[in-house]
């Protein structure tokens, strides 16, 4: 309790700066992705700063509709979820302000807090009364539950090997060169992690939630103005946070801001490039996908972790 109450205003200011920076970076990556995708499809595409324009426009819209209490609150849930998760992850080891509130809990807290934002979005979608929004939530939850399985298995393998749930501890255990990154220390669990990350980022072929042209844009169908702006910002920082988590768990974390930015970008692009090649799955195909190969890799990863632990002792 004291740890929270003792926080000084300066630290909170640093955190706020870090959050703003992360949102900006998230939006920038969004712009880059649109550009990259356009080039792959032989289009010119929007400028990379287009997301900034979009968000600014939304925030300055003067009127909006609302469907009820939850419709109103959902963007708040979404943003709090995105920022909260970012704050719980130490982005750059040992740098004040970029460790956020990670003293509150370990990697399990991060993983479970991810659902907070999703839940908020889903509730808002429900309140809007739009069938497409709800269909998207049904798909999203189905897919989420299935990619969480290989991801959990990879995480369990990781924790079994490094002996801690603390993200700081996990980063420490990977220190000392690329060979110590968990992705290479236990490649089986690493593959499970990489594949489940695809689901987490929800680019094609796993973009069944927003599913453009299919169920307009899914959950936020009814949203506009500040609400949608908040959601977009939340989504931007959420993407950064997820990538940062992946970086910390599998790619040895980061020791400087540029390193963090590069690693996050690379992780992001992994999902984007896969998405550029594969067309969208149907919902049940996506669920089945994660319950097959990624899960087998995850199980094998645990077995490998146990074997290595056994050999080490």
């Amino acid at each position: 309790m004291q740890a929270v109450l003792n926080l000084d205003i300066g630290y909170l200011g640093l955190c706020a700066l870090s959050v703003i920076g992360a949102i900006a970076y998230g939006l920038l990556i969004g712009g880059i992705i649109r550009k990259v995708m356009a080039r792959i499809q032989s289009r010119i595409g929007p400028p990379v700063w287009q997301p900034y324009l979009d968000v600014a426009k939304l925030f300055f819209q003067r009127t909006s509709i609302r469907h009820g209490m939850m419709f109103y609150l959902a963007p708040v849930f979404r943003t709090v979820g995105g920022i909260g998760i970012y704050l719980l992850i130490p982005i750059v080891a040992g740098m004040p302000g970029l460790a956020g509130f990670s003293f509150n809990g370990d990697v399990l807290l991060v993983i479970y807090f991810m659902f907070f934002g999703c839940l908020g979005m889903a509730l808002g979608a429900g309140e809007s009364g739009h069938p497409h929004a709800i269909i998207a939530v049904s798909r999203g939850l189905s897919q989420m539950s299935s990619y969480e399985l290989p991801f959990s298995l990879a995480l369990i393998a990781l924790v079994a090997q490094v002996g801690t749930f603390s993200i700081g501890g996990i980063i420490e255990a990977q220190a000392g060169g690329i060979g110590n990154w968990y992705l290479f220390m236990n490649p089986l669990a690493g593959i499970a992690g990489l594949l489940s990350f695809l689901g987490m980022q929800m680019y094609s072929p796993f973009n069944i939630v927003l599913a453009p042209q299919e169920i307009p844009i899914g959950p936020p169908t009814e949203y506009n103005s500040t609400f949608l702006g908040l959601m977009m910002s939340g989504r931007a920082i959420f993407g950064v946070a997820k990538s940062a988590l992946f970086m910390n768990l599998f790619l040895g974390g980061a020791t400087s801001i540029p390193e963090a930015m590069i690693k996050i970008f690379v992780v992001y692009m992994w999902a984007v490039f896969v998405g550029a090649v594969f067309p969208r799955f149907r919902a049940e195909q996506s669920v089945r996908f994660f319950l097959r190969w990624p899960t087998w890799f995850g199980l094998a990863g645990i077995a490998l972790a146990m074997l290595m632990k056994h050999l080490a002792s």
């Binding site: 309790m1 929270v4 003067r62 009127t63 909006s64 509709i65 469907h67 009820g68 209490m69 609150l73 963007p75 708040v76 943003t79 909260g84 719980l88 509130f101 003293f103 509150n104 809990g105 370990d106 399990l108 807290l109 479970y112 807090f113 659902f115 907070f116 839940l119 429900g126 309140e127 009364g129 069938p131 709800i134 269909i135 939530v137 049904s138 798909r139 939850l141 189905s142 539950s145 959990s152 369990i156 079994a160 002996g163 749930f165 603390s166 307009p216 169908t221 009814e222 103005s225 500040t226 609400f227 908040l230 149907r282 919902a283 049940e284 669920v287 089945r288 319950l291 645990i302 146990m306």
Partner: protein
């Protein structure tokens, strides 16, 4: 007063009756009734004087034993005579109504026979003379044939003839035996014969001759006692003779024969027949109960039951005689059987329906009759507090400590079979009126059945003084209030709930005074769970009182039994509380609108769980345990088997995968408020059992065994994990809100089971935390759903929608509930998940951890569906007028919400309690609680308050943003949504709700094809087929029966003669 009067008065009345009859039928009936009443009153008045074991021996004509006939009158005789007189009076009463007379002819002529029957029985009970025994036996037998034949059913005549046929054989054998015994010993006095056989020793009488003599007597009596395989004619008798007559026969002829056999035990002792009798009795108990499964006729089913219960008594009799089992225990079984069976037979007779199908719904309109039938059934299957329970408990405990411990298995197996057919019968009585096949048209008075129900209950309660502890005041307050409310069920429901609340509060205060509420003790911890749950459910009930009249009283009885269970000081207290909980909750489940069938299943599985638990306790008792603390001293195979049996029992009761099939229906079909209690509190009782015994077993176990990764708990851990994932998956696919929560509840208990299975301090802390958390959440969720069902009148989620606008308080309750249950920070569920994963990884149960993580994500599916489909989306036009739940109801929920918020911010407060509770047994806490509120474990850390502060801070900032900096918003109409230029159709058509996770179902199709339900159905079919095959053994043909008798005698001869050595 002279006991001879108990023979002389009915005999005199029998002679007078033809004369008195000239004054009219009414006078004749009056005389008979007076006679029975006199005998009953005289014996009952005598009982207190006999309580201390006083014994009165009367020598007729003043001649001592060798010449005169000695009668003995002690407590046992008095009780049996009282039963026979009471049964005679009852049968008389049952058929005295006009309708009854029509159904049971025989009229006044029959009364003479009834009087003679009582004469014979009383004589048979008291006599100490062998030849006299034969004479009275003949009187009784002839009276039985005569009564059987006076009925106007032709089946009765035929059955009576077959019965006489075999009876004649028995009589002949007995007579030959007696004659030869007289030749050998020179006396007819039973005591004299026994003495001469004892004193003379082996050489005094020729052993072979003695063997032959005893064989004749033995065989003759076994025919009289109708053991397997000689029970055919007796069972046929039930089918053809009026149940009132059969009730009389049970209480007179049968009891007297049993007692006569008991008196001859000293003579049989000359040859050790213990094993022979145990085999015959045990086989009768199991087989008769098995064959009864296939009976479609109620009376015949009761006949099988009689045969079975007699078999149990025959099995225990030699042990009682040798002192291995207390004779009182066997006596209690006999008394219990007489009272309950006579009551049931009158019941069956007065209701008058022959087949089980006709019973369907016949009692729908008469709750008092249902309750009475339930009491009689509970008595006969040996549930506490009825005398049968005490008899069975004492007998089984004695068996467990003696050399015959394995015989417990057939007793428990037979008892479980007995459960099946009795509760199936009871189930039909609970079928709602609209499904009824026939209406109730009583052909006789139900008063005697009710009276015997009350007597058997009273007798049981008198025996329950063994359970007195410091919490007895609270138990009595609750039980007393429960009984009062049961009677006062007509009062307004709100008042009844208010009184219930007062009773719960008062008992809580008493328990506090008695010091039973210290949260760091196991008892106090679970007692608080019980009281908290009961309090909130009853408080909510003031808002929406259940409409069932008996609900209120039964609920308090259940709470009373839970207090008894949780405060148990010894194995007996625990098991009695456990069984009381079982049947009170069974009756509550049956209170549901369609609760009959689910309640039946609930009872079967609970019964099986109870017998497994009993088995575990008996193993421990056999190893010398007396108190619960002694379980720590168990070692070796005894400890292992105790743990396995108890674990299996608790797993069944916790509805673990495989045995879960009872739970969804029971949770769904129970009264809505009771579902909350069932899930919030009752589902914690198996966990209480695990904690209570597990702590001791762990404390006494080898640390190396417990400490290893794959210790004794590993299998249980997998069971819990499979339960968690299986039930969670099924929950996601339900359309019924209560059913969804039911599956969820079962799945969540799986988590706790995994935690306990770890057998580490951290695992137990996790499980206990989860237990409390789950209780609060499930109470909240089930109450909210109860409120919604109450207002909308449907349970199907897709028929609701958009209710957030009508019931905002319920929406908030469900929102808090689902966030807390799903484990999303910052609410309380997260700490539970966090603890359990840490515990699992610490123990290196990686795969189970993976399964649980998967399950906990699937849980989002059903939780979101619960809130979305009911409260969000499109409001249905027919729900435009729906109102919020009453204020009191919301207050009860607010209590729960506060509890969740408190636990969310300060989980360390609860962890402090749980670690203090388990640390003494493990020698370690497993969790470090830092001064700043952080929880530290070996692998990770959590500061719940910090998380809450962060989330609340962020939330405040952004909420202020949308509130003050956000755009001006306009509320739009329900159907005012973006539909690509189309006009949205009606709300029903765009509420995406039915089959919500269709893609998921498709993806999991191969897994979902596995059906445990189908597996159990097949098992039931096989059992039924076996019963059917066995049942055909009784062809109804006198020649076959005679063949069985011959074969049986042959085998008995070999068995008896081989014992001669």
């Amino acid at each position: 007063m002279n006991p001879v009067l108990f023979i002389a008065v009915p005999l005199g009345a029998a002679f007078l009756l033809p004369l008195v009859r000239r004054m009219g039928d009414r006078a004749a009936r009056g005389l008979a009734g007076l006679t029975f009443a006199f005998v009953l009153a005289a014996v009952v008045a005598w009982l207190p004087a006999l309580g201390n074991g006083a014994m009165l021996t009367v020598t007729t004509g003043g001649w001592p034993a060798p010449f005169g006939i000695a009668l003995r009158f002690g407590l046992a005789e008095a009780v049996l005579i009282a039963l026979s007189a009471a049964a005679a009076l009852g049968s008389f009463g049952a058929v005295s109504s006009r309708a009854g007379r029509d159904a049971t002819s025989g009229g006044v002529r029959g009364l003479v026979i009834v009087l003679l029957m009582v004469v014979g029985a009383n004589g048979l009970i008291m006599t100490r003379d062998l030849f006299n025994t034969f004479v009275f036996l003949e009187i009784v037998s002839i009276a039985t044939y005569a009564l059987a034949a006076t009925g106007d059913e032709s089946r009765g005549l035929e059955a009576g003839f077959k019965y006489m046929f075999l009876g004649a054989v028995a009589s002949a054998f007995i007579l030959i035996g007696i004659a030869m015994l007289y030749r050998l010993t020179g006396t007819l006095s039973i005591d004299g014969i026994a003495e001469s056989l004892m004193v003379g020793g082996a050489g005094a009488v020729p052993m072979f001759a003695l063997g032959v003599v005893l064989l004749f007597l033995f065989a003759g009596f076994l025919v009289e006692l109708k053991v397997f395989p000689l029970n055919g004619p007796a069972i046929d008798l039930y089918d053809g003779v009026s149940p009132a007559v059969m009730a009389l026969t049970v209480a007179t002829a049968l009891n007297a024969s049993v007692y006569a056999f008991w008196k001859l035990m000293p003579i049989f002792r000359a040859v050790d027949l213990t094993l022979v009798l145990m085999v015959i009795g045990g086989a009768t108990f199991v087989l008769a109960n098995l064959f009864a499964l296939r009976q479609s006729r109620v009376r015949r089913m009761l006949g099988y039951s009689t045969s079975a219960q007699l078999g149990l008594i025959v099995m225990l009799m030699p042990l009682a005689h040798s002192g291995d089992v207390s004779a009182t225990a066997v006596g209690l079984l006999l008394v219990n059987h007489t009272l309950a069976k006579a009551g049931l037979l009158w019941f069956a007779g007065s209701v008058g329906k022959q087949t089980l199908v006709e019973w369907k719904g016949v009692l729908a309109g008469s709750p008092a009759a249902r309750l009475s039938l339930a009491a009689l059934v509970l008595a006969i299957v040996g549930m506490p507090p009825f005398p049968g329970f005490w008899g069975k408990w004492d007998a089984l405990v004695a068996l467990s400590r003696g050399p015959h411990a394995w015989w417990i298995i057939p007793v428990l197996a037979g008892s479980l079979l007995e459960f099946i057919y009795y509760f199936r019968w009871l189930r039909l009585a609970h079928v709602p009126a609209e499904d009824a096949e026939t209406k109730l048209e009583p052909t006789g008075s139900l008063v005697p059945a009710h009276a015997f129900g009350i007597i058997v209950l009273g007798a049981g309660l008198a025996l329950s003084s063994r359970l007195v502890t410091s919490s007895t005041d609270a138990v009595l307050t609750l039980a007393g209030a429960g009984l009062v409310l049961l009677i006062a069920g007509q009062l307004p429901g709100r008042l009844l709930q208010f009184l219930s609340l007062a009773a719960v509060a008062a008992s809580g205060w008493m328990l506090h005074q008695a010091g039973s509420l210290a949260p760091t003790s196991i008892t106090g911890f679970f007692m608080l769970i019980v009281l908290f749950g009961a309090f909130t459910v009853v408080l909510a009930g003031i808002g929406t009182p259940p409409d069932r009249k008996r609900y209120h009283g039964l609920f308090l009885l259940l709470v009373a039994s839970l207090v008894l269970l949780v405060d148990a000081r010894g194995p007996l207290g625990f098991f009695a509380g456990w069984e009381l909980m079982t049947w009170t909750s069974y009756l509550l489940v049956a209170q549901g609108q369609r609760g009959g069938r689910p309640a039946f299943r609930y009872m079967l599985f609970s019964g099986a769980a109870g017998f497994l638990v009993l088995g575990g306790i008996l193993v421990a008792l056999g190893a010398g345990v007396t108190t619960i603390g002694d379980f720590a001293h168990l070692a070796g195979p005894a400890a292992l088997w105790t743990a396995i049996l108890l674990g299996a029992g608790f797993a069944v009761k916790a509805a673990s995968a495989g045995a879960h099939v009872w739970a969804p229906d029971a949770y769904t079909e129970s009264p809505d408020l009771f579902s909350a209690f069932l899930s919030g509190v009752l589902s914690k009782m198996p966990l209480f059992g695990i904690v209570l015994f597990g702590t001791r077993l762990v404390a006494g176990a080898d640390p190396a065994l417990i400490g290893g990764t794959y210790g004794p708990g590993y299998a249980l851990g997998w069971l819990g994990a499979i339960t968690a994932i299986g039930m969670t998956l099924l929950a996601a696919l339900q359309e019924d809100a209560k059913r969804l929560l039911a599956y969820s509840s079962v799945g969540q208990i799986g988590y706790a089971v995994v935690g306990f299975a770890l057998l580490t301090p951290l695992g137990w802390t996790a499980a206990l935390y989860h237990t409390v958390n789950h209780m609060i959440i499930k109470l909240l969720l089930f109450l909210a759903i109860a409120a919604v069902i109450n207002r909308t009148g449907t349970r199907r989620m897709h028929e609701m929608g958009g209710l957030i606008k009508k019931m905002p308080a319920q929406y908030i309750a469900v929102l808090i509930g689902i966030i807390a249950l799903s484990g999303v920070p910052p609410l309380s569920g997260f700490a539970g998940k966090w603890l359990i994963y840490n515990a699992l990884i610490e123990k290196e149960w990686y795969f189970i951890a993976g399964v649980l993580m998967f399950a906990s994500v699937i849980a989002f599916l059903y939780l979101f569906r619960l809130i979305n489909t009911i409260f969000l989306g499109q409001l249905k036009p027919r729900h435009r007028e729906v109102r919020e739940a009453p204020a009191v109801f919301v207050v009860a929920q607010a209590l729960l919400v506060f509890a969740i918020m408190g636990l969310s911010m300060f989980p360390d407060a609860l962890l402090r309690v749980t670690t203090a509770m388990t640390a003494p047994f493990f020698g370690a806490a497993g969790v470090e609680l830092a001064a700043d509120g952080s929880v530290l474990v070996s692998l990770g850390y959590l500061n719940a308050f910090g998380v809450m502060a962060m989330v609340m801070g962020l939330f405040a900032v952004f909420f202020a943003w949308v509130l003050f900096l956000g755009p001006k918003t306009t509320k739009v109409g329900q159907l005012d949504i973006v539909m690509a230029a189309e006009e949205p159709p009606a709300p029903e058509e765009i509420h995406y709700a039915y089959d919500f996770y269709r893609p998921y179902k498709r993806a999991f199709a191969p897994v979902l094809r596995v059906s445990v339900e189908r597996g159990w159905s097949r098992f039931a079919a096989v059992l039924s087929a076996v019963a059917e095959y066995g049942r055909r053994f009784y062809t109804g043909d006198a020649q076959t029966y005679l063949l069985y008798a011959v074969v049986f005698l042959g085998i008995a001869a070999v068995a008896v003669l081989s014992r001669l050595g």
